[in-house]
């Protein structure tokens, strides 16, 4: 197992280098530059913009900029944001808690809801409960977050006036009252994200459990006289979770990268909002940092998924 992990990690290095190169190339070759905002503003003439470009090091050809970026990255220097002139890492540190509080919580919530629902609706296939959960799952699956988000704002903020739709990141949770405020302001974005994520996981879990139920080993277990709970809990669920683990492992990195649309709609100052704003402003160091960290996480979580397979399924061995 140790050798397997080590081999995979070594293999990841060229992969990540390749990814970073492609990312950087796309950003460098895309039209627009960090100063295009100024251009729309007649107060900033071209000479001034050229001068700013020089001061940001953007007058050099992009392959050179890429090499510099890699060198700095290897030393742990993520560069500084063109927009705020502060280290990218400081900016990420400000955003990460908000993303975890909303996207992370939504992720957990959806897993907690989805796994039992998926398992139960598979066990009681075609029951009323199965029909309801399937219908809801399809709705959650097919409604885009920008639509559910806006619907919720119109209903709960504008019409009913229950929840604020502008996230206040200055709120510090110190007592029950502020905790209540925090819940009030995060409930809508969490619900929007959880709805979508839950729907996906429910579908996967249900399908996977259904696939396992008629198999021979389940019949054997039952024939041995094992209790229903043991059959389902020890055998069926454990085997059915393999595809679900893949799904979770592959989507878990999105907790870090944030939810671009939802964060934008509810003005949650998370990583997703930072990413989209940085892309719009061609704030390359920030975009690179987020996109690259995301790729590292994807590679890592793939490895984690492979390791978890081994735990779940004794037939899978890596030695």
């Amino acid at each position: 197992m140790g050798r397997f992990i080590a081999r995979r990690l070594i293999l990841a290095v060229p992969t990540l280098l390749m990814i970073s190169f492609v990312l950087f190339a796309i950003l460098a070759l895309a039209p627009g530059d960090p100063l295009s905002q100024f251009a729309a503003n007649p107060a900033v003439p071209p000479e001034v913009r050229e001068n700013i470009k020089r001061s940001l090091g953007l007058d050099q050809p992009w392959p050179i900029r890429y090499v510099k970026w890699v060198m700095a990255m290897l030393q742990g220097d993520w560069g500084f944001s063109f927009g705020s002139r502060i280290p990218v890492w400081d900016l990420l540190k400000l955003r990460l808690p908000n993303t975890l509080a909303v996207v992370g919580v939504a992720y957990l919530v959806s897993l907690i809801i989805a796994l039992p629902i998926g398992i139960i609706s598979a066990l009681r296939q075609y029951s009323l409960m199965d029909h309801i959960s399937t219908t809801l799952a399809f709705i959650g699956f097919s409604l885009p977050t920008f639509f559910t988000g806006l619907m919720m704002i119109v209903i709960f903020s504008v019409k009913l006036g229950w929840f604020p739709f502008i996230y206040d990141s200055t709120l510090k949770v110190s007592d029950l009252e502020t905790l209540g405020q925090q819940l009030k302001q995060s409930i809508m974005p969490i619900a929007v994200l959880a709805l979508f994520q839950t729907a996906t996981v429910v579908r996967y879990t249900r399908a996977s459990v259904l696939e396992n139920l008629p198999l021979d080993y389940v019949r054997t277990a039952r024939a041995k006289g094992l209790a229903q709970a043991t059959v389902i809990g020890r055998h069926v669920v454990r085997n059915s979770l393999i595809p679900v683990v893949t799904l979770i492992a592959l989507t878990a990195p999105t907790i870090f990268s944030g939810a671009v649309i939802t964060e934008q709609i509810f003005r949650v100052p998370g990583i997703g909002a930072l990413l989209i704003n940085s892309i719009q402003n061609s704030d390359t160091p920030v975009v690179m940092a987020i996109a690259f960290t995301f790729s590292v996480l994807v590679v890592l979580f793939n490895l984690v998924a492979d390791v978890v397979y081994g735990v779940l399924d004794p037939r899978i061995r890596y030695d």
Binding site: S36, N41, N51, S55, R85, V158, I166, P269
Partner: protein, 538 residues
């Protein structure tokens, strides 16, 4: 607490390194210039005791020296004294090329800035400057503290902690700033006016989109002030029915306009749109007139802009006293398709079997470009419809704004390259003085390959009369004569159809809660320019 909503989030609070309006405005609660630019374009003293003028001797007769007297007893929010040295330092900071200040053009042409005594600053220009307020007035000349920034001039500018937490003389000071998200301010207890400001705390939240910002101000009333709420007229009207807020607007000098290309965008090779070439039909005044007369700017204003702009046939739309009253009666300013068709008939452009006019084998076909923007695409449709009724073939093109406005000499799609027949965008004077703005049509300003398309005359138009007028404007000091020249220059550009003005845009186009008082819309300075006076009735 005063709650302000900007749908673009401030990322830096040192206005000299700002990335746009959001940063200028967010810094303005803390940093101040020597004088604000008032709603009528006239300076109002802030840190200065009085505004220097020719009459009070603050501006020298040769327009080369401007002497600013500062108010005594002003303190920075850290308790130290504000002096003339801070003003001199701010100038040096902005002028240092390595600082890469985004407002460095406001110190262009300055020879020296000297502190004569702790309360007197003398600005000397290299050449006579008809605009003595280029430096010192409005947010681009915000004064920063020497003590805080002296170690961070030039290349080290980016390392200054003060960029995120500047010490200022303004009514509020920063208590917390999360770049790209929210700024929290509290009262600056050192502020010179002991009775102001009126809010204990101010929160400036950023991010999101204009529509939901309008919703938060007009419908739910969650925020007291919302910046730049230009959304579709129908949507805006519907949101305003929420009844919680009202619009804050003023006519600005920014004009949405069509630019006519006098050079040939289809010339072969590197001759494209070079001033040595001639446009196949736009060199004929009657053709240009016909194009101008087929533009329905009124529908455009009513259907697309609403409160955000009004139809105009002037290229100078503010300050009020500089605006020409002659253009309304000009034939080129009237929407008259019949007359326009007749002009083209008379000029010998006959309609072919396909309905497109042609003359001597040249088809009257134009490419018309602007930026990618839903509003602009609708404007394009209105203009296209008018021109098609003249028998002109119109091909629309839209370019990403980042490319269109970029200074990239290698990109053929920039507004400066102007490789099309007509293009459309908004521009205006950056200060109430229009000299620099009108200089953009000088024949010495023609954008072309040899200057990497960096100059401002994108039309490739040259006219000796116009050149003479603007050069006269550079040295004239008498206000009445200056006004006359500006009006004449405006009228010449319009009557010669160098440019077809469309919409005088409003600025600001913001929204405020009905209970918020003291806000005065001002197109010439940050819209938060008098935030010290804002109050809220319960």
């Amino acid at each position: 607490m005063l709650k302000i909503l900007y749908w673009q989030a401030p990322t830096i609070l040192n206005s000299h390194l700002s990335q746009g309006t959001k940063d200028y405005d967010a810094s303005r609660l803390v940093l101040e210039p020597m004088a604000a630019s008032g709603p009528d374009g006239k300076p109002l003293p802030l840190l200065a005791a009085e505004v220097p003028t020719l009459d009070n001797g603050g501006v020298s007769k040769d327009l080369k020296t401007v002497t600013w007297k500062l108010k005594p007893g002003i303190k920075w929010s850290d308790g130290s004294d504000f002096t003339a040295d801070d003003v001199v330092f701010t100038y040096q900071y902005m002028a240092d090329k390595a600082t890469a200040a985004t407002d460095s053009n406001f110190v262009d042409g300055i020879d020296t800035v000297v502190a004569k005594d702790p309360l007197t600053v003398v600005v000397t220009w290299k050449d006579p400057n008809p605009n003595p307020y280029q430096f010192g007035v409005a947010g681009q000349s915000n004064i920063i503290q020497k003590k805080q920034f002296s170690e961070f001039m030039g290349a080290k500018a980016k390392d200054a902690p003060g960029n995120l937490k500047p010490i200022g003389t303004g009514p509020y000071k920063v208590s917390d700033f999360k770049p790209g998200d929210v700024v929290t301010y509290e009262i600056n207890d050192q502020f010179r006016d002991k009775d102001k400001p009126f809010f204990k705390q101010v929160q400036l939240k950023g991010g999101g989109d204009a529509t939901s910002a309008a919703r938060a101000v007009f419908q739910t009333g969650d925020f007291d002030y919302g910046w730049n709420l230009q959304v579709e007229v129908q949507v805006l009207n519907q949101l305003m029915q929420g009844g919680k807020g009202e619009l804050v607007t003023a006519t600005s000098g920014n004009v949405e306009r069509l630019l006519i290309n006098f050079a040939d965008p289809n010339a072969p090779g590197d001759q494209r749109s070079e001033p040595t070439t001639k446009h196949p039909f736009f060199t004929d005044l009657n053709v240009r007139k016909a194009f101008a007369m087929a533009v329905d700017r009124k529908s455009m204003a009513e259907q697309l802009y609403g409160p955000a702009g009004s139809a105009t046939c002037n290229i100078v739309t503010a300050p009020t006293e500089m605006v020409s009253k002659n253009t309304d009666s000009m034939d080129v300013c009237k929407y008259d398709l019949a007359a326009a068709n007749k002009l083209l008939d008379d000029a010998g452009w006959a309609k072919g079997s396909d309905g497109i006019r042609a003359k001597d084998g040249v088809k009257m076909s134009v490419i018309y470009q602007t930026t990618v923007n839903p509003l602009r695409q609708k404007e394009q449709d209105i203009v296209k419809k008018g021109w098609e009724q003249l028998g002109v073939q119109v091909e629309l093109k839209s370019v990403d704004a980042g490319v269109f406005f970029s200074s990239d000499a290698g990109n053929p799609d920039t507004s400066g390259h102007f490789y099309t027949d007509v293009e459309m965008y908004t521009n205006g004077p950056e200060q109430p003085d229009v000299t620099n703005y009108l200089s953009g049509w000088l024949s010495t300003q023609i954008a072309q390959k040899s200057n990497e398309w960096r100059l401002n005359n994108y039309h490739r138009w040259s006219n000796a009369d116009y050149d003479q007028m603007v050069n006269q404007l550079r040295t004239e000091t008498d206000p009445a004569k200056r006004r006359d020249i500006a009006v004449k220059a405006n009228d010449l550009l319009v009557s010669q159809v160098v440019v077809i003005p469309l919409i005088a845009r409003a600025s600001p186009i913001s929204g405020k809660n009905k209970a918020l008082q003291g806000n005065i819309p001002n197109p010439w300075d940050s819209e938060l320019w008098n935030v010290a006076d804002w109050t809220k009735t319960q």
